[in-house]
């Protein structure tokens, strides 16, 4: 069942149209969140060109995420990272059948508007790109297309939901090949949910209201999460996933699916690795199957990775106070 909790009664993103004679409703909460639900138990792969997109599709990716540069290269290049070239997005769109997502900068309403009419399926308002607005995120209820947003704790996740996001991913620390931050974020979210669930069960509404004030989110979202005992949106793991075992680990922590960024196409065996990560994600509950998947990759070919304690740029901190 999809949680239909909403901030606006009649969001501007909803379009009432006619399919010849039949009235239809586009961009409804159900249609937007439903799209995210179709990706569950799957792997979304970062790609920068048609060749990579085809490798991802053939490997069994559930969608591709189009970027100008992979997070690892964004980190190396420095400067301002913006949304990908529209021509590249269109080129990929015309060569594959699985859904296409693309990233826009945090708060950059117009990059998002352009992406919305470019024929992609979902927009990622992402901290991997340089934020365009330090104060606020996009008001996503105004869009017909669904959004995915990053979060590293429950407050961020629910604030993004209140702004109209349809899907959450952990932030992790993108482009590092190091899964530690993603693990930290999913554990943190799980613990926070466990806490509010037990408070809700005890009937202590006053304490829940206090928590919603601390999280800077409306009470209704905290209550819904406490009632469900999980995030009311689909929640994927992202940031630093590099091996089949990484993917299986995060699925076992309760994630609904996996985003792989630099981990595949910055490795020296992307074709095998892409397939292996998909298999490990589906069969994450069976160590023997994950072992078979892990056997398909060569550790000498993995992205080298880096220590997340000594980074010049912590992408996960972008937008965390908004």
């Amino acid at each position: 069942m999809i949680s239909l909790i909403s901030t606006e009664i009649q969001p501007r993103g909803i379009k009432l149209e006619k399919l010849e004679t039949v009235p239809v409703r586009k961009g409804t909460t159900l249609v937007k969140r439903g799209f995210a639900h179709m990706h569950k138990h799957g792997v979304v792969m970062d790609v920068t060109n048609v060749e990579q997109a085809q490798i991802a599709e053939d490997a069994g990716a559930v969608a591709v995420m189009v970027l100008d540069k992979l997070p690892f290269d964004v980190r190396k290049a420095g400067g301002v990272a913006r949304t990908a070239s529209i021509k590249v997005i269109e080129d990929i769109r015309d060569h594959i059948t699985i859904p296409i997502m693309a990233k826009c900068r945090i708060g950059h309403i117009y990059e998002a508007k352009i992406l919305e009419v470019s024929g992609i399926d979902m927009i990622d308002e992402s901290e991997v790109l340089t934020p365009a607005d330090e104060e606020r995120f996009i008001w996503k209820w105004d869009f017909t297309l669904p959004f995915v947003n990053g979060a590293r704790n429950l407050g961020e996740a629910l604030r993004r939901m209140e702004e109209g996001s349809s899907m959450i991913r952990t932030k992790g620390e993108p482009g590092t090949g190091n899964v530690a931050e993603a693990v930290k974020h999913i554990r943190l979210v799980n613990n926070e949910i466990r806490k509010i669930k037990s408070i809700h069960e005890s009937g202590d509404i006053q304490e829940l209201i206090k928590i919603s004030r601390e999280l800077k989110v409306s009470y209704a979202y905290v209550e819904e999460t406490a009632k469900l005992g999980r995030l009311p949106l689909v929640n994927f793991a992202a940031g630093g996933i590099s091996t089949p075992a990484d993917a299986a680990f995060l699925m076992n922590l309760g994630c609904d699916g996996i985003f792989v960024g630099s981990g595949i196409f910055k490795a020296d065996d992307p074709v095998e690795r892409a397939k292996a990560v998909v298999i490990a994600t589906t069969y994450h509950d069976e160590p023997k199957q994950v072992m078979e998947a892990q056997k398909m990759v060569d550790e000498k070919k993995s992205i080298l990775g880096m220590d997340t304690n000594n980074l010049d740029l912590k992408m996960q901190e972008r937008g965390s106070n908004a």
Binding site: P23, V24, R25, F35, E57, R93, I120
Partner: protein, 206 residues
């Protein structure tokens, strides 16, 4: 009567949503039964009916083939076990599927419905929608069809019954013990489709 077991193919997609909808259907019908996720080949023998959820047909199809599940499921279905596929699930059941972008879909998956399916027939996510459908098979009240990058049925052979249409396009069919829908009944907050399917499973086990 032994209690019935309905499986949900649990490779990728909205598996939990189908589990919930089917469990609700059993409760409302006051039928004792179990709904179980089916992921491994050895789990197929014990079920009395199977639902293929929504998701990405290429992903589910590829992995099902790898595990050897497709042939086993086909054998069970040809022996009468009810099967329902929603959206991606219906694409996998069709004998032929194509896409406006890339043309004919390479791999044939389950090959059990005598229909041709066009993938993403309404367009991409911007054209996904909800609409009220008239489906006499499950009752006179309209049913909320949730169409997400949905396919349509463009051709049917003898023996295939049309269950629902929208704007003269076929969006739900039944051929013997197999049902296919373009939309997602598991998201409609209305268990009538899952109840209808459960009834087929009960009849099959009698």
């Amino acid at each position: 009567m032994n209690q019935i077991q309905i499986g949900i193919l649990a490779i990728q997609g909205d598996i939990e949503e189908n589990l919930t909808a089917t469990n609700l259907a059993l409760d409302e019908l006051e039928i004792k039964g179990r709904v179980i996720p089916v992921k491994y080949v050895n789990e197929i023998a014990g079920i009395d009916g199977l639902i293929l959820p929504g998701g990405e047909s290429t992903v589910i199809g590829t992995l099902a083939k790898l595990s050897g599940a497709t042939q086993l499921i086909k054998d069970r279905v040809s022996n009468g076990m009810p099967l329902m596929g929603t959206c991606a699930g219906m694409i996998m059941l069709a004998k032929r599927a194509y896409d406006r972008v890339v043309g004919e879909i390479r791999q044939q998956m389950f090959n059990v419905l005598d229909i041709t399916v066009e993938r993403n027939a309404f367009g991409r996510q911007n054209d996904s929608f909800e609409a009220e459908l008239d489906i006499p098979l499950i009752g006179s009240e309209s049913f909320k069809g949730v169409f997400i990058r949905s396919p349509i049925v463009t051709e049917i052979k003898n023996g295939v019954d049309v269950i629902a249409t929208i704007n003269n396009k076929i969006v739900a069919i039944k051929q013997g013990n197999v049902i296919g829908t373009s939309f997602h009944p598991e998201l409609a907050n209305d268990t009538r489709f899952h109840k209808y399917f459960t009834q087929l499973v009960i009849d099959y086990t009698k």
